[in-house]
Symmetry: C2
Subunit: 239 residues, 2 copies
């Protein structure tokens, strides 16, 4: 069972589960009103590429409306996605919160819970996700202690008592993630990391290769990752 | 934040949160394709009765379809809701699984996770739920150790680090739950416990007082609870 957003990290995890671990994966994605819903097109294509046994896209649009007051990441929010450089300067001056507005309340908890339900139905023991605690944005639900606590809870929650939550990227820097994925044949040109492609006029068609703003924190981390890996970044950046 | 199904237990918890603890509650219900979707009408009326600040009904119909092969509780399932007496005899002969087919994979985990997201948005510290480990059906996600593990996970999952998962019924017998609710003014005639009202021709209108089959395990526990409390059972049973 792989949580697959269509981003760089989760697509790498899909490759690890399918190619390194040799599992026939079930891929799970969520339409929660995210600004970057075009990632779902990447997810669908990547699931096919790695021969997923099934790929489900769950409609959680209600969640997007519910959390809109608290996160800039959903289209229904009036908050703006922060510009990475401006935010960095604010952080240095102590004027910004450590957890940015792109944090979505309880998102990973909810997505993992959904995966746990489906995993029990299909008899999957492993739930894979692409969280990363090095080059990340300070989200609480990307830390190793969260992953361990979720796994402990999951083993008490269902009939299955041997669920494993596997987060193989958790200690890796972005450049190392990219190197690992390239070694497994990941086509990063058909993944997207941008938080707000609509800000650069991206129509959001699920059939096109994605465009990225180049300015948000996620675009910045992605760019730095390719630079660190010493490989060309295949992303189309607007800026 | 109260998980409110519209059943006997969760309505009692609503009364405890609103009247004993004096909280202005947010009530959260889920439409997940359950056979007993008429409970959602009870939930809406009970939320109004206890003056909830808001009541949200989340459309999780996708979940119902996804888990249908593994649970008899959803309308999309081909499995039948077991007759309580027949099941009891099977259990005594060692022919039935300890966890009945009405168990829904990861349901409480998922519902609590959704509540956790909304709780963070509205700044609610307490998440209340009506699980019960005495007169229950053996579901893993109704045990105290599950509740404790979820709370520990939740404190690492979000910005809030002081979330409390409150399960005030967990050690109570059904009769004691009913006594407590009656003392807080709960109208149990407008709650429903039946797993399969459609089996007795209940049309499922959200505006009517519910009818119950009288034969499923949940009806049996409810009947025994009223008998133990020594009060009249206001439920309309078909059988």
């Amino acid at each position: 069972m792989v949580l697959l957003s269509g981003g760089l990290d989760s697509t790498t995890v899909l490759a690890i589960a399918a190619r390194e671990a040799g599992q026939r994966v079930h891929a799970l994605s969520f339409a929660y009103g995210q600004r970057h819903a075009l990632e779902l097109g990447c997810a669908a294509r990547q699931a096919r590429r790695f021969d997923a046994a099934a790929h489900e896209v769950v409609d959680l649009s209600h969640l997007g409306r519910l959390v809109a007051p608290a996160t800039s990441l959903v289209a229904a929010s009036e908050l703006a996605v922060p510009d990475a450089e401006a935010r960095q300067r604010q952080l240095e001056r102590g004027e910004a919160e450590a957890i940015p507005s792109t944090y979505v309340p309880a998102r990973n908890t909810l997505f993992l819970s959904y995966a746990l339900a489906w995993a029990e139905v299909v008899g999957a023991r492993d739930i894979w996700l692409g969280v990363n605690a090095v080059d990340y944005s300070g989200y609480p639900d990307c830390r190793p202690e969260f992953v361990a606590a979720f796994e402990a809870m999951a083993r008490l929650a269902t009939k299955a008592t041997d669920v494993r939550v596997r987060a193989p990227l958790i200690d890796l820097e972005k450049g190392a993630i990219i190197e690992r994925g390239l070694g497994l044949g990941v086509d990063y040109g058909d993944t997207t990391s941008c938080y707000d492609p609509s800000s650069v006029g991206e129509p959001g068609s699920a059939d096109e290769r994605p465009l990225a703003c180049g300015r948000c924190e996620s675009c910045m981390l992605r760019r730095q990752g390719f630079a660190a890996a010493g490989v060309e970044d295949p992303t189309r950046y607007a800026d």
